[in-house]
């Protein structure tokens, strides 16, 4: 099948949605500019005009409310922010309005807005350009939270999000934009709230999300060689959680490692581990574990980020630890490029 990049898949999903329905509009800082939000919005303004595809002032809060208002009169807005961190300005509109509008007016008042939030990583993005805030969004009733890993999922989930009647936060990890995968040209949808078993296994369940799933896949291969068979589940959405798939897997394997891109405390990993402990406690052969960031802001210095961030090596080591096996280095997991970039093609600054 045809291979395209994650960024192209996002672009294709928006393009398709806009051609399917003239209710779809898309806006955000830089949407029609020459870079097109890491290529994800290139060409759209030319095709659909500047009433449906437009740039915006740096007014994150009002623009979110404007998206909400447009959806009240029947549009399906897609808003985008180049960093999730900027969106903190808009949490009143998100949490007090978008998440609650349908509820507080007694139903039949859906807000079908999709908010694309890009999660930064590396190259000294630092404390306010690389936060991972999925847990905050997931805690709020009324919001859906989607985090695709593959180009295939990006397209199917984005189409689903756009045509979903609830507000959806669609988090794209910056390091995924350049990854490629098989993506059908046709329209297809992937249900929000369905995770995906990327690799079946029998000894331990790994629940991972977004970019960390890429790292986990590499680790899982090497673990296979150590005779540890991992079942790797790509979460795909944290709200709603696909509890059926996760619990079924844990019941089978008896072990759990949750891998998150965020600070560890009060994170997605907390909820998954808590839920598993409350509901299927006796399935566990060993205590559930997590691999996430320590509770510190993301550092800027190249000298710190390699230790701060987790990768395939850390996943590998953590799983060995769970099986009480001595740690051992694994050369196959070493990266062939600097730890703070997605690949050698990346020359900064974003």
């Amino acid at each position: 099948m045809r291979k395209i990049s994650f960024a192209q898949a996002v672009n294709e999903a928006i393009d398709m949605a806009m051609s399917i329905s003239d209710e779809v509009i898309t806006f955000g800082l830089g949407v029609p500019d020459p870079k097109g939000v890491f290529s994800t919005t290139l060409g759209l303004q030319d095709k659909y005009g500047n009433e449906r595809v437009f740039d915006m002032p740096t007014s994150e809060n009002a623009m979110t409310g404007i998206g909400i208002g447009s959806s009240i009169v029947g549009l399906r807005p897609i808003m985008v922010h180049q960093r999730v961190d900027f969106f903190l300005l808009a949490l009143d509109q998100l949490i007090n309005n978008a998440a609650k509008w349908n509820f507080m007016f007694g139903g039949d008042n859906n807000i079908p807005i999709t908010i694309r939030l890009i999660v930064g990583h590396g190259w000294g993005q630092g404390p306010t350009h690389s936060q991972n805030l999925q847990s905050i969004f997931s805690h709020i009733p009324g919001l859906k939270v989607v985090m695709p890993t593959t180009a295939y999922d990006a397209k199917g989930l984005l189409l689903e999000s756009i045509f979903c009647d609830d507000p959806v936060l669609f988090l794209e990890h910056r390091w995924l934009h350049g990854t490629e995968g098989e993506v059908p040209e046709k329209d297809y949808r992937i249900a929000i709230g369905s995770s995906k078993v990327i690799k079946p296994g029998k000894d331990i369940t790994l629940v991972s999300l977004s970019y960390m799933t890429i790292e986990a896949m590499r680790a899982v291969e090497e673990l296979e060689k150590e005779d540890i068979s991992c079942e790797l589940i790509d979460l795909r959405s944290s709200s709603p959680l696909d509890w059926v798939t996760i619990s079924k897997s844990i019941k089978k394997t008896g072990r759990l490692l949750v891998i998150d891109t965020a600070n560890e405390s009060f994170s997605i990993s907390s909820e998954i581990i808590a839920k598993a402990s409350m509901e299927i406690f006796t399935s566990f052969k060993s205590p559930p574990q997590r691999l996430a960031l320590i509770d510190a802001p993301s550092p800027t210095s190249f000298g710190l980020t390699s230790t701060y961030y987790n990768g395939a090596e850390e996943v590998f080591a953590k799983v060995l630890e769970i099986f009480d096996q001595p740690s051992k280095p694994n050369d196959n997991l070493k990266s062939d490029h600097s730890h703070d970039i997605p690949g050698d093609w990346f020359k900064g600054p974003f």
């Binding site: 509009i25 009433e51 449906r52 437009f54 915006m56 002032p57 007014s59 809060n61 009002a62 623009m63 979110t64 409310g65 404007i66 998206g67 909400i68 208002g69 447009s70 959806s71 009240i72 009169v73 029947g74 549009l75 807005p77 009143d92 509109q93 007090n96 309005n97 509008w101 349908n102 509820f103 507080m104 007016f105 007694g106 139903g107 008042n109 009733p141 009324g142 609830d166």
Partner: protein, 337 residues
């Protein structure tokens, strides 16, 4: 866009045909006065019964501020869209919202306009274009701009209109919203009800001395006007002009009206005894009652009588209605499908 909108007279005619106001000016005033009376008596009935403890939600009365709601909404068609704030009763009623459903909502009943999920601060009646009110200061302002964006994009011959208080103009989102409405030339009218207070805080601790809100708005690039919010005719005319401006493609419009809230910020009582404002100030404003000479005019006697019946009936309806079932709550909140 201009070519798609009917001229102001076309709109006014269709408006008259909708029987919201009657042809001659006096008659239209008469109709507006009836609407103000309705709001006044409804609010009084809530104030009177609030202490019974059956309306159990924060409730902000509009007594004293009726003229703005009525004068503005008298210029709006059903398909023009309105949003409002925590103090929404007047706007809801002036736009034609269902009385029974509003009262039932305040009682928390499933027959309420928001099925009891929202209470006094979350009113909606989409059948007449009243699109909602919220409890967070300023946060419907951008929503109204977004509705205007949608209306314009879909070539709808309708406008969006949002009410908010003087306090809301201190929120950053107010400026952001105006800015975008101007950039995209959206059909939205911003109506600021300046009643001098935000809760118990006077303007002097919140805004610079001598600040004219409408002039500040104007300097952002929007056409802005100002008037006596206790004079329904003045409000009507300024709103007519603003709507006319939109149909002439002069872009979004801003209106500021001076007015005064009579009772406490939230709740049924008077609170001048608290000392945050002078009794004399209150008395001065009560003199400027938008319903002066109307309340005790014999012309309205029979209307008032029937109004009182309607209001009693609405309270009865509300009291006799059921609370929402918990199952229904779970469905609406999306927990059960």
């Amino acid at each position: 866009m201009a070519k798609l909108r009917k001229g102001v007279f076309g709109r006014l005619n269709s408006f008259i045909n909708n029987h919201i106001i009657i042809k001659s000016k006096n008659m239209s005033l008469f109709e507006m006065q009836k609407r103000m009376l309705k709001i006044r008596f409804v609010e009084e009935s809530i104030a009177e019964r609030y202490s019974e403890g059956k309306m159990r939600c924060p409730t902000h009365l509009s007594i004293g501020q009726e003229a703005i709601a009525v004068g503005v909404c008298a210029n709006l068609n059903k398909d023009d869209l309105v949003l409002s704030t925590h103090r929404a009763h007047a706007h809801y009623l002036a736009k034609g919202g269902d009385l029974k459903k509003m009262i039932a909502e305040i009682y928390g009943k499933v027959t309420g306009c928001s099925k009891g999920m929202g209470g006094s601060m979350h009113l909606i009646d989409k059948s007449v274009g009243f699109m909602g009110s919220t409890a967070i200061v300023g946060n419907t302002i951008p929503v109204a701009v977004g509705m205007a964006k949608g209306l314009k994009l879909r070539n709808k011959d309708a406008i969006s209109c949002v009410f908010f208080g003087d306090g809301a103009t201190e929120e950053g989102v107010f400026f952001e919203s105006l800015n975008f409405a101007i950039i995209q030339n959206l059909p939205v009218i911003f109506v600021c009800e300046n009643n001098l207070y935000s809760v118990y805080s006077g303007l002097e601790v919140r805004q610079p001395k001598g600040r004219k809100i409408y002039e500040m708005a104007r300097s952002m690039g929007i056409e802005a006007n100002h008037g006596n919010g206790n004079d329904v005719v003045e409000v009507y005319e300024k709103m007519l002009k603003a709507k006319d401006n939109i149909s002439k493609d002069k872009g979004p419009q801003f209106l500021e009206f001076d007015t005064y809230r009579w009772r406490e910020h939230c709740g049924p009582n008077y609170d001048n005894d608290l000392g945050y404002r002078d009794e004399s100030e209150f008395l001065k404003w009560r003199e400027k009652d938008p319903l002066k000479n109307v309340l005790d005019s014999s012309e309205f006697k029979s209307y008032i009588d029937s109004l009182k019946d309607d209001i009693c009936e609405a309270h009865l309806f509300a009291e006799n209605s059921k609370y929402p079932e918990y199952e229904e709550f779970l469905e609406i909140s999306g927990i059960k499908k």
